[in-house]
Structures are given as structure tokens and as C-alpha cells.
């Protein structure tokens, strides 16, 4: 489903990703862990086309993100191509990023209506179903600023799902939440993960959540994968010293 091939990402002089190779199978749930600045979030941002690769290629469902074929030449992707690839991908942000100029219902329906051309009635029906799933049916007409952080994040999840993505990217989705709101959002995501066949790529500092939700955990350091394995192995018997140190530091905190 997702294929990284020798991906390099540099910001100025700083190399964030060094010739990164990895792939994610359809319906696989993969969690990226590692110290801050190790390039985890950059991976999600590259996939969402919020950043461009410096070199290398990323493919989603067989389609290249950064380039497209024109005739038999490969040229940088234009907006039309990007929109085509993005259709398959949804993202939930650390800071929710709800649109403050729309109420909750509009936040969820606006993109399906505008970007996909779904009739508004149909989009609203779907939005209400999603709001029910995230247990916010009574907040449809509320303004985002009237909601708690946890509620806002649940709306953001509903908003991403309304686009019916095949891949969902979760970027530290509970990091900005008050501690007592974290578990609500996590259990919601757990339910979504188990009841759908979404391909999930998740950056988190919550190791229990990572253990719960993922089929595979990738340990990152300095823009490279240090260790790759099922959660039981990574958390219980990590092979690499770097992973052991990291987990030690996280668990001590």
C-alpha cells in the first residue's frame, strides 16, 4: 500500500530522512516510535504531500506521490495528480486543525461536498453517522471553540473519515490533549482500527497505545529505521541497544 524507496528529505543543511526504505501492506497498522526529531512526523507529512521528497520515491497504492508519467517521461506531479493520490489518504493532526469558520457539521461535510462533489444531504447524513460513532451527536451545530480538546480531536477524526480514505495518518493525535482526555480518543481509534480495514500509519509517544493498535512497530532514530518488528518483540525484547535506551527513557518519564 505504501512504499518508500531510498527516500531522502533535507531541510536546508539538516538531513531528516536518510535513504529510507520501508513498506506497509494494505490494512496493516504500523506505529512509528523514536525520539523527537528522528523524522517520524516528516514521513507522515511527505505522505500527505505537505512536504516534497528531496530524492527517492514514495508510492501509495502503486501511484507515485512526487512524480507522474507524461508520455514516457517522468515529470514532477502537478496539482491534479496530487489530488488524485491524496484521495486515498487522510490525516489527523496533533493540534486538530479544525476550521474555526465552520461549525462541527460543516467541518465534516465541507470537504466531501466541495472536494468530492457529494450532495450536501448525503454528506450530512454520513457526518451524523460519524458524529454518533465519535459520540458527539449533540455537538453537530456547536462551534469548534466550544469543544474540549478531546472532543475537537474526535471531530477531526470524523472529518478525516468522512473522506473515506484507504490510508489514515495519525500524527501524535493525543499529544496536545489533557491527560484525562487521552484515553477516550485512544479507545475510539482502537475501535476504528479493529472495525475497519484502514491502513494505519501512526506516530505516537504513547507506548501502550502503540502496543495495542499496531501490527508492526518501527523504531526510528536519526532518519533511519533502527528496528522493525511486531509490538511484542519491540517492547518486550528489543534487539537494538538504541531501542532499549529509548524505551527506558520513555517509560521512566
Amino acid at each position: 500500500m505504501i512504499q518508500f524507496d531510498k527516500v531522502v528529505k533535507r531541510f536546508g543543511d539538516v538531513t531528516v530522512l536518510r535513504e529510507l526504505d520501508f513498506h506497509v501492506k494494505p490494512a496493516e497498522r504500523v506505529t512509528l516510535i523514536g525520539p523527537s526529531g528522528s523524522g517520524k512526523t516528516t514521513i507522515l507529512r511527505l505522505l500527505m504531500t505537505l512536504e516534497r521528497v528531496t530524492s527517492g520515491t514514495i508510492e501509495v497504492d502503486g501511484q507515485c506521490l512526487s512524480h507522474m508519467k507524461r508520455g514516457d517521461r517522468t515529470v514532477p506531479a502537478d496539482e491534479k495528480h496530487l489530488r488524485q493520490v491524496r484521495k486515498k489518504i487522510g490525516m489527523v493532526f496533533q493540534q486538530f486543525n479544525l476550521f474555526p469558520n465552520m461549525n462541527v457539521l460543516r467541518n465534516i461535510t465541507e470537504a466531501p461536498v466541495r472536494a468530492l462533489g457529494v450532495p450536501r444531504e448525503q454528506a450530512e447524513e454520513k457526518a451524523r453517522e460519524l458524529l454518533e460513532m465519535v459520540e458527539l451527536s449533540d455537538k453537530a451545530l456547536a462551534h469548534p471553540s466550544q469543544l474540549s480538546g478531546g472532543q475537537q480531536q474526535r471531530v477531526a477524526i470524523a472529518r478525516a473519515l468522512a473522506m473515506e480514505p484507504e490510508v489514515l495518518l495519525l500524527d501524535e493525535v493525543t499529544s496536545a490533549l489533557d491527560p484525562e482526555l487521552v484515553s477516550g480518543v485512544q479507545s475510539l481509534l482502537r475501535d476504528i482500527a479493529r472495525s475497519s480495514n484502514l491502513t494505519l500509519l501512526c506516530v505516537t509517544h504513547e507506548m501502550n497505545f502503540a502496543r495495542d493498535i499496531s501490527h508492526r512497530v518501527l523504531m526510528f532514530d536519526q532518519g533511519q529505521i533502527v528496528e522493525d518488528g511486531p509490538p511484542e518483540q519491540i517492547f518486550n525484547e528489543p534487539e537494538q541497544q538504541r531501542t532499549r535506551d529509548f524505551l527506558q527513557a520513555v517509560l521512566d518519564a
Binding site: R86, R159, A160
Partner: protein, 242 residues
């Protein structure tokens, strides 16, 4: 209750003698201010959007426009449009039209800077969220960025509109019969200077205060639209009805 027409020639003494002329002038002032404002706002939006374009040439064109019209005086622009243009092109503009054009071009340049700044003040994360939801670049601007930037634009636009109102007095130089022009005329023809100048002050002030009141209303509405300020039940219901 008896209503008094403030523009009536039947008013006692010096008022009856001056107010009909001042009112005529005030109307012209109002018309040129309205015309100039409409033009300035349209220009501000277009050039402000251009100045935020990802394309360097488009940004460059906007930049040149903004710097040029901010950096030269309205009066000189007026002279060019009204006196120099006919010499160069053989085409004589109507004087009110030339005035509205000069005001719109000049204040539009300031307004573009306001629009550009407001667009830039919208957090980049909003744009990113809109990309993640697969909006087209145009839809991002139309449905996400602009509505949020709008709330930022209103207070500085209020300033500009008041500037524009006051700048209309420059039109009297090319003999547009506005409030300032009528005032000078009255004084020159022997009306009491102090009274005439005082009345002019009051009229300009009333106009500019009206602008402020209207813009404050718009500002409150805009703030509520982006969730700052208190949301009212009525607006929530109106939103739902849409």
C-alpha cells in the same frame, strides 16, 4: 415632533445660507468616498491575493503596484489622471471619475497590504488541514483561508476607509464640488468663516464616525464567524438553517 431638514434653506440666519450648499458638497463627498471605497476594496482583494501567490512573477507585479501607489501622493496621482492623461492619450476623464480612480488606486494599494497581512496571519496548519482534505487550491482560499483572514482585515480596513473619506477633500483641487470645495466657495463669497469651517468639521466627523460604527458591526459579525467573541443562539440557528 417636528423634523427639521438640516439641508433646508429656510433654516435661520447663517445656517439657511450655508447648509444647502454644504449638503450638496457632502453628497458629492459621500459619492466619491463610496466609489473610491468600492474600487479600493476590489483592488485590495485582487492585489492582496496576488501578493500571496506562490508564483514569483505574480507576486512581483503586485509588489510593484503596491509600492508605486503607496509611494506617490494621491494629489500627484490625481494630477496625472486628470491633467496629464489627456495630454498623453488625448482622452479626458470626468473629474469625479478621475477622483474616484485616484482614491481607489491609492487606498487599494494600502488595502492590498492589509489583505496580504491578514492572509498570512491565518496559521499554516489551516492550509495543511485543507490540503489533507483534498480541497483544490482555489477552494482552500475560498472556504478556509479567506473567511478566517476576513476577520483580521476589518479593523485596519476601517482605518483605511476613514483615510479615504478624508482624502476626498483633495478632489476639490481639480474642482470637484465636494464638501471642502463648497466650503471654500462659501467663505470666499462672504459667509462666516468660523461657522462654515465648524460645520465642515462636524459633517466630516459624522461621516467617519458612521464608517466606524458600521465597521465595528462587521467586525463583531466576522469575529463570531470564526468563533472569537460570543456566539449567539440566533446565529447558531441561522447556520443550521443554511
Amino acid at each position: 415632533m417636528m423634523t427639521v431638514n438640516p439641508c433646508s434653506g429656510d433654516l435661520p440666519g447663517v445656517f439657511g445660507e450655508t447648509m444647502p450648499f454644504l449638503c450638496q458638497g457632502a453628497l458629492v463627498t459621500l459619492q466619491s468616498a463610496a466609489g473610491g471605497a468600492a474600487l479600493a476594496i476590489v483592488i485590495a482583494l485582487i492585489v492582496g491575493l496576488m501578493a500571496s501567490s506562490p508564483l514569483r512573477t505574480v507576486r512581483g507585479v503586485a509588489r510593484v503596484y503596491m509600492e508605486f501607489f503607496r509611494g506617490t501622493s494621491v494629489l500627484v496621482q490625481l494630477f496625472w489622471l486628470f491633467y496629464a492623461m489627456p495630454i498623453l492619450t488625448g482622452y479626458q476623464l470626468d473629474k469625479v471619475f478621475a477622483g474616484v480612480l485616484a482614491l481607489g488606486l491609492n487606498l487599494g494599494a494600502y488595502g492590498s497590504e492589509v489583505v496580504r497581512g491578514a492572509l498570512q496571519a491565518v496559521p499554516p496548519s489551516q492550509r495543511e488541514a485543507a490540503i489533507a482534505l483534498n480541497f483544490t487550491p482555489l477552494q482552500r482560499m475560498r472556504y478556509v483561508i479567506l473567511p478566517q483572514a476576513f476577520a483580521e482585515m476589518v479593523p485596519p480596513m476601517n482605518n483605511l476607509l476613514i483615510e479615504l473619506l478624508k482624502a476626498t477633500s483633495l478632489l476639490s483641487v481639480i474642482t470637484v464640488a465636494d464638501l471642502a470645495y463648497e466650503g471654500r466657495l462659501l467663505v470666499n463669497s462672504g459667509s462666516d468663516q468660523l461657522v462654515v469651517f465648524a460645520l465642515m468639521l462636524v459633517i466630516y466627523f459624522l461621516f467617519s464616525y458612521t464608517i466606524t460604527l458600521v465597521m465595528r458591526f462587521v467586525e463583531k459579525r466576522a469575529a463570531r464567524m470564526v468563533g472569537r467573541g460570543k456566539p449567539r443562539r440566533a446565529t447558531a440557528a441561522a447556520e443550521a438553517a443554511r
